[in-house]
Symmetry: C2
Subunit: 100 residues, 2 copies
Amino acid sequence: MDLEKQISALNNPVRRDILEWLKDRSNFPPALPEHADLEGVCVGYIQEKTGLSQSTVSNYMGLLKQAGFVVSERHGQWTFYRRDEDRIRAFLAAFRDLML
Amino acid sequence: MDLEKQISALNNPVRRDILEWLKDRSNFPPALPEHADLEGVCVGYIQEKTGLSQSTVSNYMGLLKQAGFVVSERHGQWTFYRRDEDRIRAFLAAFRDLML
DNA sequence: TTCTAAAATCGAGATATTTCGATATATGGA
DNA sequence: TCCATATATCGAAATATCTCGATTTTAGAA
């Protein structure tokens, strides 16, 4: 639990948007048929929605992952990212304790 | 409620420390007799505890104030800062909604 | 009014973040 | 094996943050 890294990851509006979008898969285009059974969203779809460059979004996903807010799973040439709800909740609890 | 400004204000370990210290007046030296009835802590005491320069801490307190986490009250040549618990709570609620 | 002390503001150098395009790596298919 | 596609990594320019010392402002006291 690295609060510094977590707050830093959230200190960017696009990264916060990504975390919010990932709450609901329907914020992105439908998965390819061969990915129908997989959880998470591939980097390409996230990139498209942000309008930023591929390298920027790849970097952003790495920061969110290091912060523990998302997990990734590789399937073939695609990397699928999804929220880690447990760790998000744990962060919120720690953050609340810090603030109150 | 400017979430951007608020998260940004929290994206610094010393500013987070200051907010925590302000939870309890006894984290600082006792108030001068003529300030015994006042709430809050003067900038000098906060500066002393951080070990940073006067201008840096004055700037930090301004950022925390703009974020709504503290309020200030001037008495003579001293400015006393204290936490705004209501606005801290409101921020936490909004932040929680964003994250969950 | 003049001096002193507290705090705020200003200007600048050092460091960190943002964001890109280019390149590298990994994987599946022809 | 060679190619195409998805993602990751690298290097750099633009911008923002951090932090300082110097200066200014504010207020009380001599």
